[in-house]
């Protein structure tokens, strides 16, 4: 089966033997974008979180056939060192990662949350950010999520001023 999808704003067309292959493995092994992680394969840890049309999706449990015609964003497409996404900027300011393995999943989940709730309360964060971090970086993550919301807001206001 042929799957066409935009990944990080680039159109990819991949030939897939089994259309039920999880999107995670297509992204990692065929497109060679290794930033999206495998942790459990059962939608239980969130390490594989990426965005499908702006929504957070656990890609280990999302068949690639559903991605056909959609826009996928992975950590590699969120921002760059030169132009980091506000979530990445906040993560850098708060020095969040320890081992780092869970972090892309958390940053993608946060980006999706901020799309929907630009200024999340602690309660919003508790309810929506439900990935697992074994190193226990939640304390800094919470600070970083609030900081990202702030950065987002100031970015938005400076764009309005400029326009």
């Amino acid at each position: 089966m042929k799957i066409s999808m935009h990944v990080n704003d680039k159109l990819h067309s991949v030939d897939i033997y089994d259309e039920n292959t999880p999107l995670l493995w297509v992204v990692r092994d065929i497109l060679d974008l290794k930033g999206t992680k495998f942790g459990c394969g059962k939608a239980a840890c969130g390490a594989c979180t990426l965005l499908v049309d702006g929504e957070a999706v656990r890609s280990c449990s999302y068949a690639v056939k559903f991605a056909n015609g959609k826009h996928i964003t992975t950590i590699e497409g969120l921002g760059t060192k030169e132009d980091p996404h506000p979530v990445q900027q906040a993560w850098i300011e708060e020095v969040v990662p320890q081992c780092g393995y869970c972090q892309p999943g958390f940053m993608m989940a946060t980006a999706a949350l901020l799309n929907k709730v630009p200024n999340p309360t602690d309660d919003d964060i508790d309810k929506n950010i439900i990935n697992v971090c074994r190193c226990g970086t939640y304390y800094r993550m919470r600070k970083a999520i609030h900081r990202a919301a702030e950065l987002n807001a100031s970015e938005a206001s400076s764009t309005t001023q400029n326009s």
Binding site: W25, I92, V95, P97, Q98, G100, M107, V132, T137, R142
Partner: protein, 718 residues
């Protein structure tokens, strides 16, 4: 580049300070018997010390063409921030900007191999002396070489910003090393005064921050090679299952299957894709023989003080009779714990002729090389282990024999083979934290102070049966050096005190789990101290302080207790529905005290804030020391309040996150306040000691709120 250059003359660097931290911590307490005492110090120092080459700066440092310094680290980065601290130490002695220092994992082919492991919170403390000496020596080598290139005397040269300066002349390190093939290693120079350091002691951002924020492929799971195939290995689901036979006929003809590999000790399959390998593996019909019916209650019964072999690990004064008047006694338990690191164990192996290349997330680089070489009957030099960043270690990757299986499979197909554990396999084939049982006994004197305090406890293997300890150690010692971590009575002023360890062999593998016995032992002892303070009608801070002796470690312990109670504003009173609980521990020579602020909501324990006081000695990077404290607090909350493996009909369960309850964002305290003290002038262990007090601190707060003494982890009110 410097790394490739030959050393023409070697000079031994002074090995001062190695391993002494751990020896002091435990050795000072244990046994009157000098033989056992020295063995315990030895075993302990092996875990503590750095065992690798400290003679050859060239295998440690490489000067790149861009005039950066590459540090080839024999210790792995698993989140603990070691690479950043090593870069700070190297930059200061090498006189180069911190931003110009990069740290990479040394492959075994580079020659920089740690004979032991990355673990025991030892990376920074163990390398503190040798790494700075190596860096200082390297700086002198660069100066000497510059002097001969410039035709001036060394005495006229200074180093700054990655260059040697002579009057108006500047020669960068890259210019100096250019074209040089022979180096002379001079005597180790005197190290700089710590106060003169620009980077050591500063809270600099982690050097791997960008790689981790932008999703770079740095982990073992991300490794790949051209023409790579995928492997899968059949594993039993039952405890103690013995392999009888396997019918592989169906798997052999499945799509994508390249080969089914049937060995004496495992059955594996190699296929073109991950999915095909998994499908074929599931089609292999394997017969196992397993003792059936084992349940959690059998393990609990086994794991009870009085069973197994006993060793007194600490003895002062006389024992407390069971009939003694005023005897107080409480029992505590901790469950089987899983590592549950998010990156599964995995490996990429390529056996090409008589050489093997292994890319792997491991805490035991040297041992992995040995194991692979032995199985393939290769010279060790022909096996190159290339370590990667670890997606969590926590002790799980002190056993990575799957490298051997991947190598065998690669050899069978002549191509690189990558394979990793499923999450179910991770949970069922973990090397678990052993369950424990503790009996605490005490008796107050007329003055309201303890006359007796005893800790009797039982644990499965932690250090015993580990490749990291030579076999005779546990036999001679009697006690398991891992299980007894944190099991000592730290209240030296109690006239009669003792700690008695019982060892039980479990039917499944247990091993090192971050901080080893510390979490459970501290939970038991410090909950009991709280109980006795209340019995004595004393404030828990004063009660603890009164029982701590005035030697170096005692003074440091008292200082962290005072600091945490000041910072948290500790009170025994319940205020606005919240109560505080306090606990303290010493691990590997690092004292830590914590206060947890807790309330009960819907019959659930809620931790709002944790204050930590830690005395890690000199904090090379205070921000990362704080990060370790925060991480330990949250991992400790997870273990103390949520996690538990069960044994059901001979199987370890659950086998997935979720059912294996772990702390999530909503369970993490919104505030973690860390105070750092500096009681010694060198770095001490950091990565595990802050895990000690948290369980007891929470349970003690719950007592103030409910009057109930929780004696079992995971802590629960229902």
């Amino acid at each position: 580049m410097a790394e490739k250059n030959k050393v023409s003359r070697r000079k031994f660097l002074v090995r001062g300070g190695l391993g002494t931290v751990g020896v002091l911590a435990v050795g000072a307490y244990v046994f009157r018997n000098p033989i056992r005492r020295s063995i315990l110090s030895m075993a302990n120092s092996m875990e503590m010390g750095y065992m690798g080459d400290t003679d050859t700066p060239m295998i440690w440092f490489e000067v790149t063409n861009e005039n950066n310094i590459l540090v080839h680290s024999p210790k792995v980065e698993m989140g603990q921030g070691t690479f950043t601290s090593l870069a700070q130490m190297a930059a200061d002695e090498l006189d180069i900007a911190f931003e110009k220092v990069q740290v990479v994992h040394a492959s075994t082919a580079s020659g920089n191999i740690d004979g032991m492991s990355t673990g025991g919170s030892t990376s920074v403390s163990g390398l503190w002396q040798p790494l700075r000496e190596l860096a200082a020596t390297m700086r002198e080598m660069l100066k000497n070489k510059a002097a001969s290139k410039l035709g001036v005397s060394v005495g006229e040269l200074t180093t700054k910003d990655g260059a040697v300066h002579h009057k108006d002349m500047v020669m960068t390190y890259a210019e100096i090393t250019d074209g040089v093939t022979e180096w002379e290693v001079p005597d180790t120079p005197v190290l700089k005064d710590i106060k003169a350091y620009k980077y050591v002691g500063k809270p600099l951002a982690r050097i791997d921050l960008n790689a981790k924020v932008f999703g770079e492929p740095i982990f073992g799971m991300d490794a790949s090679m051209p023409d790579m195939l995928y492997g899968a290995v059949v594993r039993p689901t039952k405890i103690g299952a013995k392999f009888i036979k396997a019918d592989t006929s169906k798997a052999e003809v499945m799509p994508g299957v390249v080969k089914v590999v049937l060995e004496e000790d495992f059955v594996g399959v190699v296929a073109a894709s991950l999915q095909q390998a998994e499908n074929a593996k599931n089609a292999i019909v394997t017969r196992w023989e397993s003792p059936n019916g084992l349940q959690t209650k059998d393990i609990v019964a086994l794991m009870t003080v009085g069973n197994g072999k006993t060793t007194i690990i600490q003895k002062e004064g006389s024992a407390l009779e069971d009939t003694a008047e005023g005897l107080e006694q409480l029992e505590f338990r901790s469950p089987i714990g899983a590592h549950a690191q998010i990156e599964p164990n995995g490996v990429l192996a390529y056996v090409d002729g008589d050489r093997a290349t292994i890319k792997i997330s491991t805490q035991v680089i040297g041992i992995t090389r040995k194991e692979v070489a032995k199985r393939l009957d290769f010279e060790e030099e022909n096996v190159n282990v290339i370590p990667t960043y670890l997606g969590g270690g926590f002790g799980r990757r002190l056993h990575t024999p799957h490298a051997v299986q991947a190598a065998v499979m690669s050899k069978a197909v002549g191509k690189p083979v990558k394979y990793f554990f499923s999450r179910k396999e991770e949970f069922q084939h973990d090397m678990f934290r052993p369950p424990t049982h503790h009996v605490l006994k005490g008796k107050l004197g007329e003055d309201g102070l303890l006359e007796n305090l005893e800790h009797h406890f039982v644990s499965g293997d932690v250090g015993n049966n580990s490749v990291l300890l030579p076999n005779p150690v546990p036999t001679i010692l009697g006690a398991d050096v891992g299980a007894i971590r944190g099991g000592f009575i730290q209240y030296g002023n109690v006239p009669n005190h003792r700690s008695v360890y019982w060892h039980v062999q479990l039917p499944f593998a247990t091993s090192w789990w971050r901080s080893l016995g510390l979490l459970a032992n501290t939970f038991a002892i410090e909950s009991f101290m709280d109980h006795m303070a209340i019995k004595a009608n004393k404030n828990v801070v004063d009660f603890r302080l009164a029982h701590i002796q005035d030697d170096e470690i005692g003074i440091r312990l008292k200082n962290v207790i005072k600091a945490v109670s000041d910072k948290a504003g500790y009170t025994d009173e319940v205020v606005g529905g919240k109560a505080m609980g306090m606990a303290a521990s010493i691990d590997a020579g690092t004292p830590c005290a914590q206060v947890a602020e807790v309330s009960i909501e819907d019959n659930q324990i809620k931790v709002h804030k944790v204050t930590v006081a830690l005395d890690p000695g000199l904090a090379v990077n205070p921000d990362q020391v704080k990060a370790q404290c925060e991480g330990c607090v949250i991992m400790g909350i997870s273990a103390a309040m949520h996690e538990k493996m069960e044994v059901v009909d001979g199987e370890l369960t659950p086998t997935i996150y979720g059912p294996y309850h772990m702390a999530l964002m909503k369970h993490a305290p919104k505030e973690i306040d860390v105070v750092l003290l500096q009681g010694i002038d060198r770095p001490g262990p950091v990565g595990e000691p802050p895990l000690g007090p948290i369980g007891a601190a929470i349970a003690n707060a719950v007592f103030r709120l409910t009057g109930r003494r929780l004696t079992e982890m995971p802590l629960s009110l229902s």
